[in-house]
């Protein structure tokens, strides 16, 4: 285990009122694995990952509780308690980030080479010329032809796919242990998506990085993830190995998600939003199961409190009071 997040609570104090974006998020990440995070938009996927590194805008955002342990030689270090200086060493150094929109995520007035080299100079204390050399190598590595000349190009001279390659280069520039990819292909052409996925997977193997992969695309999840987190209403509702999730989903929301895919193999274009009902209102604090208004199995206990993640098997947890398979309430053995 290299990362363990416990009861993460993040809120936004917006003009419309308090947005209860994260309501106790729990998960862990193992070295080298690919952890997919799925859930409809607004379920808190991005906010979770950005909270870990203090990347949410503060204000209006505020991290109000929880811990996020990053393990270094089995020594835990709570990311949420680090000073600004210390957290900067983790950003880019230990954890790299790939954002969704490669067009707006690069500075339009700085050459792409400088944007990559900048983080090497920061973390690895390289000289300008060494950083340039390494950046050119890295550009070649991520598949940018004529890298030496392209170092001095500006983002607008690149296509969306090429810019995402640059973003990937930025994320892995300092050989982090974890890369968080927040819907890295959503903004791209379908034809480019597969190349980007392949590239990230290749770099992951090569550098031995653990990847947290936020996606809408269950086909991608099926093909590349080791483990899956399903998020709903700012909580993790299911946490399972990928084959367990597809073969034996435990949470009614997950079951609905998988049913929404034609052929149930995830080859369709269907989006996750196709479950009946609307997502929870995050302007109210959660006091019951967030899925209750949409759930066909709902019973009185569901309204009484927020269900914790309950172990189903050793590597499988679901935040649901009901055992759908056996049609009985679940025995509540909480695993933090």
């Amino acid at each position: 285990m290299i990362l363990q997040v416990k009861d993460l609570i993040t809120r936004f104090y917006s003009v419309d009122g308090v947005v209860y974006a994260l309501n106790g998020v729990n998960f862990a990440l193992n070295a080298g694995e690919t952890l997919a995070v799925v859930g409809e938009s607004g379920s808190g996927k991005s906010v979770t990952m950005m909270s870990l590194l203090g990347l949410i805008p503060q204000p209006p955002g505020k991290i109000e509780g929880g811990q996020a342990f990053l393990f270094e030689n089995d020594k835990p270090q709570d990311l949420l308690k680090l000073s600004e200086r210390q957290v900067r060493r983790v950003r880019g150094g230990q954890i790299g980030f790939i954002f969704q929109d490669p067009i707006s995520s690069l500075n339009p007035t700085m050459t792409i080479g400088k944007q990559i080299a900048e983080s090497m100079i920061e973390h690895l204390s390289l000289s300008q010329s060494d950083a340039r050399k390494r950046t050119v190598d890295l550009l070649k590595e991520v598949g940018i032809a004529d890298a030496d000349r392209r170092f001095d190009s500006y983002p607008h001279e690149f296509s969306g796919g090429m810019r995402q390659r640059v973003m990937i280069a930025i994320a892995v520039a300092c050989q982090p242990r974890i890369v968080i990819a927040d819907e890295p292909t959503t903004a791209l052409d379908v034809t480019v998506q597969a190349q980007i996925i392949e590239l990230i997977q290749r770099l992951q193997k090569q550098l031995g990085i653990a990847v947290i992969w936020i996606t809408h695309d269950l086909a991608v999840v099926a093909s590349m993830a080791d483990r899956v987190l399903v998020m709903y209403g700012g909580t993790v509702v299911e946490d399972a190995l990928v084959e367990d999730l597809f073969d034996n989903p435990q949470h009614p929301y997950t079951i609905g998600l998988l049913k929404a895919i034609p052929g149930a193999t995830g080859l369709g274009e269907e989006r996750l939003e196709s479950i009946e009902g609307s997502p929870p209102d995050l302007l109210r604090e959660l006091t019951s199961c967030p899925f209750a208004p949409r759930c066909q199995f709902v019973f009185d206990q569901c309204w009484a409190k927020l269900p914790p993640l309950i172990s189903v098997t050793k590597h499988h947890r679901a935040a649901c009071f009901y055992d759908v398979e056996n049609e009985i309430p679940r025995k509540e053995v909480e695993h933090g």
Binding site: G96, F99, M110, H156, I170
Partner: protein, 306 residues
């Protein structure tokens, strides 16, 4: 970029040509420019003599090509009132106007930009409140009223500065404040909102995610993108200050083009009025051209674009 620059230069030339046409024909709209320039109670003989002397009896296109030819050589004709070439008078007054507008601009930029940047980077802080107050103040106080208050307090009562004229280096202070305060307010607000917006841009988040320090993000990522916004506005403000100096020059008897224009209008000195108008227009168009060129040099999207 070369193509962009050439097209901007050509545009500017056309614009200036347009100004010339408008200025020239405006005073001929009535059909008889002499009626505008000669006093009401002059006799018909005097008018006719005046028309003859000014060449108003010739066909319009001859007059225009004549005038155009003169202007291209920097010749605006003779001032009716001063009885000497309008160009000489204008050149004599030009430095005072530039001095006033430039000092007003520099003062506004030097005060407004840092406050706007610090305020925008720390919304809700003391500097931010100060900046917002200044912004409001600058944009709501009418500058002629401010000019009178400044004269009353700092020149008449405290006697720190002269009340009018341009006799000592202190003379410029009050008119520059009166002229520049509004622009300063505008610049504070603009800088603040530009910084506020840019610091929430996705690429700033990317920079943060790389572990770059706040200071370096400010200097490398925010500053350059903010300056793009500011440069175009500063160009507009400068030309506004050059033209807007008219009231201020009159109130402070500042011997620049603005007060000259007032005099020229009062004495129906049309060759001089036309010369001043064209001179102002020339500088406004020129400054805007320079602004666009500077912008193009900073913004790579233009620099390497078509």
């Amino acid at each position: 970029m070369q193509r962009y620059l050439i097209s901007r230069v050509i545009q500017s030339i056309f614009l200036l040509g347009g100004v010339l046409v408008v200025v020239f024909f405006m005073i001929r709209l009535t059909g008889d420019p002499a009626s505008l320039m000669v006093s009401r109670n002059a006799s018909e003989e005097m008018r006719e003599a005046f028309r003859e002397k000014m060449g108003f009896n010739r066909p319009l296109y001859v007059q225009f090509s004549d005038y155009l030819y003169g202007v291209l050589q920097g010749d605006f004709g003779n001032s009716l009132h001063f009885k000497q070439p309008a160009r000489e008078i204008i050149l004599e007054r030009l430095p005072a106007t530039f001095q006033l507008a430039t000092i007003a601009l520099l003062g506004a930029v030097i005060i407004a930009v840092p406050i706007g940047i610090i305020g925008g980077s720390n919304p809700g802080s003391f500097v931010d409140s100060l900046g917002r107050a200044l912004g409001l103040l600058g944009q709501t106080i009418p500058n002629f009223w401010l000019a009178l208050i400044l004269i009353l307090v700092f020149a008449v009562n405290l006697r720190w500065f002269p009340t009018f004229g341009r006799d000592s280096y202190l003379s410029v202070v009050l008119p520059a404040i009166a002229l520049g305060l509004g622009s300063m307010g505008q610049l504070v607000r603009l800088t603040r909102s530009a910084v506020l917006e840019i610091r929430n841009d996705d690429y700033i988040r990317t920079a943060k995610s790389k572990g770059i320090s706040q200071l370096k993000i400010g200097l490398r990522h925010i500053a350059r993108n903010t300056s793009l916004v500011l440069i175009s506005v500063i160009g507009v403000i400068y030309s506004y200050l050059l033209g807007g100096s008219i009231y201020i020059e009159i109130i402070f008897s500042w011997p620049g083009l603005g007060s000259l224009l007032e005099q020229a209008i009062k004495s129906r000195d049309f060759p001089l009025v036309m010369g001043i108008t064209i001179t102002f227009s020339f500088f406004v168009i020129f400054i805007n051209l320079l602004t666009d060129i500077a912008y193009a040099f900073i913004d790579p999207r233009i620099r390497y674009g078509g």
